[in-house]
Symmetry: C2
Subunit: 365 residues, 2 copies
């Protein structure tokens, strides 16, 4: 298991520079580090001063760098999927399609990169993985994927089972299944080994994202007003996907005044503009990224008091919407929706009240 | 029908500033303009100096601004989908799920925003739509979606029809269909009115993206080396999704020397750093964005000579992969794959040769 670190902030604030310095510092402390960059343009190779590729390559003691290329990952995942299919289907049909001809649709980058990080994490080759992604809403969508996808499966499984469509189709499932499948079949598409494996992966992913010992994000901003507004917005938005934001890196600026109250209670580290060829100064100025455990967690449940507290800094009451349309409670903020999966003691209860206090949305049941 | 303009470039190069200035200039020329911004953080409102929302609002004569919010678009599309379902299904089952509880998965932003732009385009309310997106690979994935999704449908339709799975399922389709559907059913899931409607939308989207009178992109870079490398990479990558790149905007710099040979034959416009409160200077410095028709097109087919020429500037032979695994010819470059849909005269033929010349990949059949 690795500690996965990523950076959020407006483009041009030096996120990649900070990410590289962070990777170099962890390596200098004796950790085994993977820097995983999503930028496939030559800009990333320029910063690393070495050509990069889709396979991790060692650039210094304990420091590997990989350029996450979606076409390569897609080809690999397609082969895995074909192998799975061959296990379950009597006559596989995906085998007629080649990984080399598959185009990349929106969303595939995020899904495939998250899966690649999961595999590097599981490989036990790295103590730390520094993920240098888009650093914006797209990174948050990616990290929110395990929880949200679990929700879609949970919700539609029930809706389908209860529907006339589901009831009409179910008598046909058995004969079709016995004709095409290699395996025994329970009749419930969500209860097969393959589906359970997906559910396990999603559950592990959701747990990892929510644990600041496993996954943490840091904000990067410069002295620029728009960059600071973006950082603050991403701080609140990160809570919505359950990611802990451990602190702020104020890059290329020492003007910390006024920023502390904006980002309270996050610690702020100031980093000078990097001089060509000098990484050490930036490395020395970085905060201790393992301290993300010290800041408020995105969600805290108090079963005795029947309360759930959501940390939503930077948003006010008007920008947060709480609804209970479906079976779960939905929070909308920062152009994201989160369905709160309540512990059994609170599950199914109606919301009796909600108030906004010191950056927390406190919901009573 | 509108002219849709977007900007590609590294974060922090001032893409949004250029996009705003472009929108203001079109409006000053008497065009009806929509500025559609994807950034939902307050940074965009700061630049427009007015609070923005998910509905277009008029900020000046002939100039509307909309902030594309995925949660709002998702709710709206979900209602549309439920209405479609109610038309076709005897007892709809999606109606049990509320748009207000749906979380956002990776890829939904792009799909929903592309659909929103399509609707604004079809509304005939705007002569010009300036789309201010992420400006990177994600924007290209979005613009490539109609063509790539069409390919997936075309390819898997055939593979499914030919497969044992398809043949096993087909006898069951008729009884299930008559039990659950409201409409007559031909037996081919891809031949229903709803599926045809999707195919039409995708075909229209593909055609629009490929036509520089309808869709054009311009590169934005500063004097920074990494920003220029990114712009050049995006130039080549844009060809892979069939988008014409009309020129380069060199922002916050006058140092055009050396850049011309890098981006030949694109025109380069230099734009000075914007002074607070002054848009006019930037507006005056912008190129004429309707001239994207003057540069090489991403793909040109010569049926008589049985040749297809792909314009792939910035890539060399090593970085481009040409394969013919499936029924179509696949080009891989810039972490993208494009399946070339050949005219009937060339369709199904084997590639007999390929050479790289002056930025063009020329394939012979």
């Amino acid at each position: 298991m690795s500690f996965i670190l990523t950076f959020l902030g407006k483009g041009g604030t030096g996120r990649t520079t900070i990410a590289i310095a962070a990777a170099k510092r962890f390596a200098s402390q004796g950790k085994r580090v993977l820097f995983a960059g999503q930028d496939v343009s030559p800009a990333l190779s320029l910063l690393w001063e070495t050509p990069l590729s889709a396979e991790p390559q060692t650039v210094a003691t304990g420091l590997d760098v990989v350029q996450l290329q979606t076409t390569v990952l897609l080809e690999r995942s397609w082969e895995d999927l074909k192998q799975q299919e061959a296990q379950y289907l009597r006559t596989p049909f995906l085998k007629a399609v080649y990984g080399q001809e598959l185009g990349v649709l929106p969303g595939m980058d995020s899904a495939l990169i998250l899966n690649a990080i999961r595999e590097y994490d599981a490989s036990d080759r790295y103590d730390v993985i520094v993920y240098d992604g888009a650093g914006d809403q797209a990174t948050l969508r990616m990290l929110g994927m395990p929880e949200i996808l679990s929700w879609y499966i949970r919700r539609f499984r029930q809706v389908f089972a209860d529907s006339d469509l589901g009831k009409t189709i179910s008598p046909f499932i058995q004969p079709v299944a016995s004709a095409v499948l290699n395996v025994n079949w329970s009749g419930d598409v969500f209860n097969q080994p393959a589906a359970q494996q997906v559910n396990n992966i999603l559950a592990q992913g959701t747990a990892a994202v929510a644990d600041p010992n496993r996954v943490a994000a840091y904000l990067v901003t410069t002295g620029d007003r728009a960059a600071q507004a973006t950082a603050k917005y991403l701080w609140g938005s990160a809570q919505q996907v359950g990611v802990t934001v451990g602190g702020v890196v104020l890059n290329q600026s020492m003007a910390i005044d006024g920023l502390q109250s904006e980002f309270d209670p996050l610690p702020i580290a100031t980093v000078p503009t990097r001089a060509e060829g000098d990484w050490q100064t930036v490395m020395n100025a970085l905060p201790d990224f393992t301290q993300a455990t010290q800041v408020p967690r995105p969600i805290a449940t108090n079963i005795a008091e029947r309360k759930v507290a959501l940390f939503l800094p930077g948003f006010d009451k008007k920008q947060v919407k709480l609804t209970q349309y479906g079976p779960e409670v939905t929070i909308e903020a920062g152009d994201q929706r989160r369905n709160i999966f309540l512990p059994p003691e609170l599950s199914g209860r109606q919301v009796t009240g909600a108030k906004f206090q010191d950056g927390y949305l406190i919901i009573s049941f």
